[in-house]
């Protein structure tokens, strides 16, 4: 199981003054291997705020392939405990508990490959996409990137300056198109409105793939992701070329289904333990209550750290944002989101 490590904040930068802040961590040499990451992965931060332990996962907004330092970019969420804490209180020199990077929404560079990568994001969803974009430009000299980025207005665009500088520097390999729902006069706006099926079709027609190994990376609120995926599949993009992560906004939570009291057979590290599960308790909570130490991180169904294989019985997942349709078909469940719906269930944490 992954542990938290205390990292020192090397620098903070107001990304959008009063709205979003980038925090750069100093990773000591001894932890470099532990804190290596692939573009698209995230880290979990642990804070004690008002006596409560809270954890949040944030995508890493920099690229190790480009030699960048580890950094996250956090936008304030209205009423958000951690996002406001980071924006208000984290200063250089601060010590923060950080778990090693992980996550399955990754772009693995293929230095000899030649791809057309379509990145589609909205709001904070840019953070993993920005890391991917940097990786492709630096580590895949023959690949091209097209970014479609949705925001409310020009003032809410993260990395606006960095993106236009990169577009200038990689003129033949990068295009950036902004979709703004409330653009002001003179905004860098390719299209007004939201990222919808029409926008996707127009964008791809305008930027058809040159390299034919086309890959699509989608990261935004659940609603945008659904729209984008249905737009892509409706023009016959094969699903194996689409990679997705939910981010921000309202995730799709289905908590109307009640669980039942059950016994869970939990296999962790090769050992099976039978654990009682209360009707409204998640399998993860039940396992921890029984003294087991299964992996977990965000406890929101987003990060996938607590993923296990369902081998017996049935469960209801309140959220399954971190799982793809293929994962679901393979029997993967998120234990932090699963309540039992049969009297006996069995899950196995992957070794």
């Amino acid at each position: 199981m992954k542990d938290f490590h205390e990292l020192v904040v090397a620098a903070v930068r107001e990304e959008i003054p009063g709205v979003a802040r980038t925090v750069v961590f100093d990773v000591p040499v001894a932890l470099r291997a532990t804190f290596g990451w692939q573009a698209g992965q995230h880290v979990t931060l642990r804070f004690r705020i008002g006596g409560e332990e809270v954890r949040r996962s944030y995508s890493i907004s920099s690229s190790a392939d480009a030699g960048d330092p580890l950094r996250i970019t956090v936008k304030r969420v209205e009423g958000g405990l951690v996002s406001n804490h980071v924006n208000d209180s984290i200063e250089p020199g601060a010590r923060v508990d950080v778990m090693a990077p992980f996550g399955g929404f990754v772009l693995e560079p293929e230095p000899r490959g030649r791809r057309t990568c379509y990145l589609i994001g909205a709001g904070s969803g840019i953070t993993p996409l920005y890391a991917m974009l940097r990786t492709i430009l630096v580590a895949e000299p023959w690949s091209a990137v097209h970014l479609l980025y949705g925001n409310r207005n020009a003032d809410s665009i993260l990395f606006l300056g960095e993106l236009s500088r990169l577009e200038e520097a990689y003129r033949n390999r990068l295009t950036v198109r902004h979709v703004l729902s409330r653009p002001e006069w003179g905004s860098p706006c390719w299209r007004k409105g939201r990222i919808d099926a029409e926008a996707i079709e127009a964008w791809i027609a305008e930027n058809p793939p040159y390299a034919q190994d086309a890959q699509y990376f989608v990261c935004g609120p659940g609603e945008m992701n659904r729209t984008v995926i249905s737009a892509l599949t409706s023009i016959d993009v094969p699903t194996r070329r689409i990679h997705m992560e939910s981010y921000g906004g309202s995730t799709d939570v289905e908590d109307t289904v009640a669980g039942v009291a059950a016994v869970a057979e939990i296999v962790l590290g090769g050992r099976r333990t039978d654990v009682p599960v209360a009707a409204d308790q998640t399998l993860l909570a039940a396992a921890r209550a029984a003294g087991m130490e299964p992996p977990f991180s965000c406890e929101a169904g987003v990060c996938g750290a607590c993923r296990a294989e369902l081998v017996k019985g049935t469960v209801h997942m309140r959220s399954k944002a971190a799982l793809t349709d293929d994962d679901l078909a393979d029997g993967s469940v998120l234990t932090c989101q699963s309540v039992a719906t049969s009297a006996r269930v069995g899950v196995r944490y992957c070794p």
Partner: protein
């Protein structure tokens, strides 16, 4: 002692069906094949079909504007599905029994399925995929779905090609030609990469380049060649260029690579052309040319032709002054000169008295190309 051709391959490699078939299998079915210009398949549903060695392949654009390549054979009885070029809209139907595939290659309908078959598992009868990619404004296909990145094939040679931005150039319709040469494909390639002949066979037709300063060599299986403009042509290039220049003044010259197998390019200061070589028989080869030029108005081309007319009047001459009508050596056309040289070489192979002399320095690439062919036939790649 078998007779040899300059000096690595036996004469039979240029005359025998057995060699031809081995090359079709070991070279033309295992490498990337040129399949046309990018704009040939530029709208969803548009397709081209072609032969790539022993394979029949078609390339079609999906609604996501990504190209797909499939083997052009129905999974029922192998009938060829598509011919030449066209627009398939949403489905591809085999003419034989009307089996129908979507543009992803999935088998979507089998006529009278219940009555004729009971049930057909369509999911395992999709079209067999091949690979396709775009590079330098050209379409390429590979028979294997796992061909890998096309840059693994062309990445090393690319820095030795011209600085042209091919996608910015437009096709010049009059530059399109297709003709047969009665010679083995390797003779056609060898003529293309023979540096020695440039100053001799083409003494009157390619004198605007300084052959003595040519730089050339192989990079993997591909051949790179560059030569500068001749001094008098370069002296007033703005006036002398027959068409609008497509390179900045500091980067003029002619890059004339021969990509393996048989994909020649001619990248000059005013035009960018393909010279693609397709073996048809041991002694018969098709050559197709297409040309791109600057995206400029007819007026700009007319003005440049007029300005340069004085220079070109004296610059192109026939090799010989007088001769029979239609003698390529009096034509003043370097392509006609090359065709003649290739066909005479092929004819000579039949003579019992045929024997080659020494290879010059400028014919070094010929020997090296023969080595590449041997490597492929012997599986040493």
């Amino acid at each position: 002692m078998p007779k040899r051709m300059l000096h690595r391959l036996p004469v039979e490699a240029y005359t025998e069906l057995d060699w031809f078939e081995r090359e079709q299998e070991a070279i033309f079915s295992r490498t990337w094949s040129y399949a046309g210009f990018a704009e040939d398949v530029s709208e969803p549903g548009a397709y081209v079909s072609l032969r790539a060695g022993l394979n029949e392949i078609f390339v079609v654009m999906g609604r996501d504007r990504r190209l797909r390549a499939f083997h052009n054979i129905c999974r029922h009885r192998g009938t060829r599905l598509l011919r030449a070029v066209g627009n398939a809209q949403k489905a591809i139907t085999c003419p034989y029994h009307d089996w129908t595939y979507d543009l992803e290659g999935h088998l979507v309908s089998v006529p009278a399925e219940q009555r004729e078959f009971g049930e057909v598992d369509k999911s395992c009868l999709g079209l067999k995929p091949a690979s396709v990619d775009l590079w330098r404004g050209m379409l390429f296909v590979h028979p294997s779905p796992d061909a890998g990145s096309i840059m693994e094939w062309f990445g090393e040679i690319e820095p030795h090609l011209g600085p042209h931005d091919v996608d910015e150039l437009v096709e010049y319709p009059d530059g399109r030609a297709s003709y047969e040469i009665k010679a083995n494909w390797k003779i056609v390639v060898e003529n293309y990469i023979d540096v020695y002949h440039l100053a001799h066979l083409h003494s009157g037709t390619l004198a605007m380049y300084d052959h003595a300063r040519a730089e050339y060599g192989f990079v993997g299986p591909h051949y790179a060649f560059w030569e500068p403009l001749s001094a008098d042509y370069a002296a007033d290039i703005e006036r002398n260029a027959p068409m609008p220049l497509i390179l900045p003044p500091g980067q003029l010259g002619a890059w004339v690579p021969m990509l393996f197998p048989g994909i020649g390019l001619a990248e000059s200061e005013t035009s960018w052309s393909t010279y693609t070589i397709t073996p048809l028989a041991p002694d018969l080869t098709r050559v197709e040319n297409r040309t791109r030029v600057k995206n400029a108005s007819d007026w700009a081309f007319g003005r440049q032709a007029w300005r340069s007319a004085g220079f070109w009047k004296g610059a192109i001459t026939a090799k010989y002054d007088a001769g029979e009508d239609g003698d390529p050596l009096t034509s003043g056309d370097f392509t006609a000169e090359d065709v003649l040289a290739c066909e005479r070489q092929q004819q000579a192979l039949r003579s019992p008295y045929f024997e080659v002399g020494p290879a010059s320095r400028g014919e070094g690439p010929v020997l090296e190309h023969q080595e590449v062919v041997l490597r492929y036939l012997e599986g040493r790649t």
